[in-house]
């Protein structure tokens, strides 16, 4: 089974801090995605990546950046965390040409 591992299950950060959320997948998938999940808003796409060093903005990229230096790792960066970025962050992996995602367990980030 494909595994998508998010390094932290829970994080608490202060306003203004730079925050790194890490995601690693073990099946050599080309595509990786970062979503945030909020009650009543569902999943919203922040960024995605088709390959190493390639990235595309999703629907809500403001306040975020990403890094994909290695195929298996896709990092989400909050340059200066704000309270409205308190959310559940989900990473997903997908084999190119296939249709389903494999999701990680999520990182619940609280910005105080």
């Amino acid at each position: 089974d494909v595994k998508v591992t998010q390094s932290s299950r829970y994080l608490v950060k202060r306003t203004g801090e730079k925050v790194f959320l890490e995601c690693v997948q073990d099946m050599d998938h080309e595509n990786m995605f970062w979503y945030r999940q909020d009650p009543g808003l569902g999943l919203r796409l922040i960024y995605f990546s088709y390959d190493v060093k390639m990235k595309e903005k999703g629907d809500i990229p403001e306040g975020y950046s990403v890094s994909r230096e290695k195929k298996e790792r896709f990092s989400l960066i909050l340059e200066s965390a704000s309270t409205n970025q308190t959310s559940m962050y989900l990473c997903a992996s997908q084999e190119r040409g296939r249709f389903g995602y494999t999701f990680g367990s999520g990182t619940r980030l609280t910005v105080v």
Binding site: G40, F48, F99
Partner: protein, 113 residues
Amino acid sequence: AQSVSQHNHHVILSEAASLELGCNYSYGGTVNLFWYVQYPGQHLQLLLKYFSGDPLVKGIKGFEAEFIKSKFSFNLRKPSVQWSDTAEYFCAIRGGGADGLTFGKGTHLIIQP
């Protein structure tokens, strides 16, 4: 642009009741359709998917969904729910050549014993 609309944000049912969760989408071309489920404290899992062929698709745990192209709908059904079906359910579509999925806002289903 594509979008997904789930009609109910919260649904409360008793065990053994029948379930239907609505999902409508907006996209002019060919779509692939998905239902995902997220049980409390767990990650999102694929329930079922539709790509082509028989519009009635069967998924895991007794769930099924019917694609009605003329109505742009992909409603999820289960004849008799169980307490363990308490979860959040997300409808998603993949349109055109994009790899990414567009998700609905989710429906929180609570089954009372």
